[in-house]
């Protein structure tokens, strides 16, 4: 499953493709099951040269009933910087933000101190 993202040209803000429009919230982003539809949306976005910049597709996955980006970097883009929780999209603090935050900071491994063989 894929979502199309970009930055707004005039503001630089992270935006997500929503059926021909651009949404500010990741949760509103259209999810593409087919690569062809995703590629068509990407081509449409790239034609909007005075609206967005640096459009690209990201992989998303479902965890706990919420869709979240697979890549850690994209979760941070969908949220905002972790050192300033009041800045960026995370400032809303709604359920989708909570899901993104949980996914972003839920490490799959438990770390390696004292676990690595010398």
């Amino acid at each position: 499953m894929k979502v199309l993202t970009a930055n707004s040209l005039t503001t630089g803000e992270v935006v997500f493709w929503d059926r021909g429009r651009w949404a500010l919230d990741f949760a509103q982003g259209e999810r593409f099951e087919s690569d062809e539809l995703a590629a068509a949306a990407l081509a449409a976005a790239e034609a909007q040269a005075t609206v967005v910049v640096a459009a690209y597709l990201i992989d998303v996955e479902e965890t706990g009933g919420h869709w979240v980006p697979v890549a850690y970097r994209e979760r941070l883009r969908a949220l905002g910087p972790s050192n300033h929780p009041q800045h960026g999209k995370q400032a809303d603090g709604d359920a989708d933000v909570a899901a993104l935050t949980a996914a972003a900071f839920a490490a799959r491994s438990t770390g390696r101190v004292k676990l690595i063989k010398r």
Partner: protein, 552 residues
């Protein structure tokens, strides 16, 4: 300090107008992003993760209070009310909108500030000793020479499209406070036996993917020949560097491929072809620049201050501040005061607009209206009367800026990392915050002593991890943040590159790994040893044992 003359101002106004026009054409669709991107980068405007980022040059780290107040105003008006001081002594604003950028450039140009040559393959903002003009151990004011280089290198037509970016540091003190050996060119000003000023010229340092310390190619360059010699170096680099491979385009690769001796020979051959009278700065121009850095004589004061001593005796917090943040000044009765931007839990290098304004007020009142930026992401008030240090301390304390931790374990360098930077692989700021919190107890940090921790969120090493006594490099392992720990680096006179300790550690375990390293140092240290000394004496093994488990 130097103030822009009519030429500087005209150049800046032209550039600002040109940029406004370029932005208008981009927004109107008259030029493509591919055409626009190099133009905005030439003015320091990047597109990062959440917004545009503007990198504002602070030449040799010196700001007037008028400039600092303007930076505070821009941050408040067009950003989220804070700025980030970087390891290149610049200021970065992380939430800039393209549509505001032309107005911001105008507002900056009014106070002689801009983002020119803070990006791109050009000679970048020149770094100088943050204690310039104030420390007793300098042979000259290095900012005079940094300003000479700034004027010469700004929009230099031959050097506007170098193979890669190019960074120069100038220091004039026995103690290097610029990390000069990590620069493309490091210039160390010294007096020869005959008393004549000259530069030791070090070339080919740099961090990143292939770290090198710069090698000396000339022991004593007469100061009057500086510009022609720099031209010869950069001309050889411009001609010979590998433009075909992005990982081999810095001068450090060329110097280490040719060898320092052969590189020096080629530079000398090129230098012999240059007509110095066309390039080297005329004495009258030098005198003009030098005069700009001359200041009123310091008052004649007793070397000790009753008010200062009384405050130390009365307030242990102030006494600690005096021990760690106050440095001797060349003039009796004065001091250099360091302002830590590393309060435990804060983002290293960040200052709010309110803090910037408060620092500007203190500098106007007590520090001759001047503020310095140190590459360690701290600020400096260079000329404070000892009598006034207690009042400065109280003023800083009211703004949460009186943390007494200069060069201690909680005075951590960290790049913006994955929280902001589109190049990063992992976050740097939260790691710095978590480590600083562990050592937030000032007595404990003081007992540990000098320990320089430096964190980068990617191999480009903006956080100087190669030069950390403890260097930490963020890496992405299958979408998770891991941190490679290195030990033994130094950016000081005893410069060395840190060596990797072992396998990378997970984000969640990195602070405890650092604590284990500190505990190992405390266990093994001899009287008077710093962390770096102990590491150099006993080697990596005891530290490995502290962090990693025994093999079965």
């Amino acid at each position: 300090m130097y103030r822009y003359d009519a030429y500087d101002k005209a150049m800046l106004t032209d550039r600002s107008n040109e940029f406004r026009h370029q932005v208008a054409r981009r927004l109107a669709g008259e030029i493509t992003e591919d055409q626009f991107k190099p133009l905005r980068l030439m003015n320091g405007l990047y597109l990062q993760l959440h917004a545009y980022m503007l990198r504002i040059a602070i030449p040799y780290g010196t700001l007037s209070t008028r400039q600092l107040r303007r930076l505070a105003w821009v941050a408040k008006t067009y950003d989220k009310g804070y700025g980030h001081f970087t390891t290149r002594t610049n200021l970065q604003l992380h939430w800039i909108k393209l549509r505001d950028a032309p107005d911001i450039m105008d507002a900056l140009a009014e106070v002689d500030l801009h983002g020119i040559q803070t990006s791109g393959n050009v000679i970048r903002n020149v770094t100088a000793d943050p204690y310039a003009g104030a420390t007793a151990d300098e042979v000259d004011d290095p900012r005079v020479w940094a300003e000479v280089i700034r004027q010469w290198s700004t929009v230099h037509p031959e050097f506007s499209y170098l193979p890669r970016k190019f960074k120069i540091a100038v220091t004039a003190s026995a103690k290097d406070r610029t990390a000069a050996r990590s620069y493309d060119i490091g210039l160390q000003l010294r007096r020869g036996r005959d008393g004549v000023l000259g530069f030791e010229v070090m070339v080919g340092g740099g961090q990143g993917r292939t770290p090198y310390l710069a090698k000396t190619i000339r022991e004593h360059l007469p100061v009057g020949r500086l510009l022609s010699y720099l031209e010869a170096i950069i001309r050889v680099y411009n001609r010979k560097s590998r433009r075909d491979n992005i990982h081999k385009q810095r001068i450090k690769i060329l110097v280490n491929t040719l060898g320092a001796e052969e590189f020096a020979r080629q530079v000398d051959a090129e230098w012999a072809k240059i007509d110095g009278t066309q390039v080297d700065l005329p004495d009258v121009e030098l005198a003009h620049i030098r005069a700009a850095f001359q200041r009123a004589a310091f008052e004649t004061l007793p070397p000790t201050s009753k008010a200062f001593e009384a405050a130390k005796a009365a307030d242990p917090g102030f006494a600690r501040f005096a021990r760690h943040n106050v440095h001797p000044h060349k003039a009796p009765g004065y001091a250099i005061v360091n302002i830590s931007l590393k309060a435990p839990g804060q983002t290293p290098g960040d200052a709010s607009s309110e803090q910037m304004e408060a620092i500007a007020d203190l500098a106007d009142r007590y520090a001759q209206g001047e503020v310095r930026v140190n590459y360690t992401q701290n600020l400096v008030l260079a000329h404070v009367k000892l009598d006034d240090v207690p009042a400065v301390y109280e003023g800083l304390k009211a703004q949460g800026l009186a943390t007494a931790n200069i060069d201690l374990v909680s005075d951590i360098i960290a790049c913006p990392g994955l929280d902001y930077c589109s190049l990063a692989n992992a976050r740097a700021i939260p790691v710095a915050q978590a480590i600083a919190q562990r050592f937030a107890d000032p007595e404990r940090a003081e007992a540990i002593g000098e320990l320089k921790v430096k964190i980068s969120g990617c191999i480009n090493a903006c956080g100087h991890h190669h030069l950390g006594n403890i260097g930490i490099l963020g890496v992405d392992k299958k979408g998770e943040e891991f941190y490679q720990i290195s030990l033994g680096g130094s950016g000081d006179n005893d410069a060395s590159l840190a060596e990797i300790l072992g396998p990378a550690v997970h984000f969640s375990r990195t602070p405890e790994a650092i604590e284990a390293l500190v505990d190992a140092y405390l266990k093994h240290r001899s009287e008077g040893e710093r962390f770096l000394d102990t590491y150099r004496r006993i080697g990596a093994q005891p530290f490995k044992e502290a962090v990693y488990a025994e093999a079965d």
